[in-house]
Amino acid sequence: MTSHFCIDIPARLIARIQCGELAAFDQVYRLFERPAWTLALRMIGNPEDAREVVHDAMLRVFDRARQFRGDSPFWGWVRRIVVNEALMRLRRDRAHVGQAYDETEHAHEADTSTPAPWVWTEARQLESALEALPALTRSVIWLYHVEGHTHPEIAEMTGKSISFSKSQLARGTARLRELLGTSTAEDPCSPTLMATP
């Protein structure tokens, strides 16, 4: 299964958007609204900010449609704009202190003797555990595992190093394992993990 963004848009529809046709943009917006919202929400973690991210990103898609040259899929271009908007908001929001784990600390050695908890965990629990991670760490995990970006790509997008991307993935994964392992082994109905907004 690939990213939910992988939606092919006919060249003729793109050309109409490039001519400023609102009806054409509306069609494309409806196709990308859900994946854009999901991506923004997963990265930001806050519905109010995610709303601003999607709104501003989609306006940017419309405004910059003429800059799309067609040398890569349109959906990838749209997704990049959404990711950039989300990262910009994370960078700007000073309230997000501790958005990522300390790069210099190493992740705990994962216990690989038992199956990873996400093999059997429920979607709702996994979502809650994700929300418990720092925003940038969660973004790295999402961009890597779901959107299929490489560490160099994530480093370039976040303005950080490749080792930063790798360390966030490792530490975030270890933390997810801890959260879900604790939750499933000790108390499957842990209020911390079940409380989703």
């Binding site: 908001r89 595992h145 779901v146 970006h149």
Partner: protein, 177 residues
């Protein structure tokens, strides 16, 4: 990325989130409002440009020959006008450099994007008029207009979330003539 990683599989299997109902409506409102505003703004600007052009044509230019054709060698506005023109061009260049530096890094909301797009359109219109200007005297008022628009653009760009407020702070942060 390892597509067979169980974590990747689990994350990809998560259901997509449901966007809020008003997300689409809000974007549509923003785009329509922007379009409606442009609908009257551009013709109004063009009309103003025509009036300005007529006023300029009515001036008794000293640097044209009797046939009306421009003689580049005789295009000699007053020294003070020349000085002002050079100053305006230099200031305009500084403003543009400054705008280029801050261009896309600052996040902007819909109103800010709208104002930016409109001001950029107006600068573009002035540039069209400047390209048609036949003498330094004709171009001087256009350069003044261009600089004023760039100053407005700088104010809008330097304060992404408020369009009009804090003009004093903006003035301090932007280049001065």
């Amino acid at each position: 990325m390892n597509p067979t990683d169980p974590l990747a599989t689990a994350l990809r299997a998560l259901p997509q989130a449901t966007p809020p109902d008003d997300l689409h409506a809000r974007l549509t409102r923003t785009l329509r409002a922007r379009r409606a505003r442009r609908r009257w703004l551009v013709p109004a600007t063009l009309a103003a440009s025509v009036v300005l052009g007529l006023l300029l044509l009515g001036q008794p230019w000293t640097d044209r020959d009797p046939s009306g054709a421009q003689l580049a060698t005789t295009s000699t506005p007053a020294p003070s006008a020349n000085t002002e023109l050079a100053s305006l061009q230099a200031y305009s260049q500084r403003l543009e450099s400054w705008l280029a530096e801050i261009s896309d890094d600052a996040p902007r909301d819909a109103r800010n994007l709208m104002a930016t797009a409109e001001l950029e359109d107006l600068v573009g219109l002035v540039d069209v008029q400047l390209s048609a200007a036949r003498s330094a005297s004709e171009s001087l008022p256009l350069w003044r207009q261009r600089v004023a628009l760039l100053e407005d653009l700088a104010a809008v760009r330097s304060e992404p979330f408020t369009l009009a407020a804090e003009s004093a702070r903006t003035a301090a942060a932007t280049p001065t003539l």
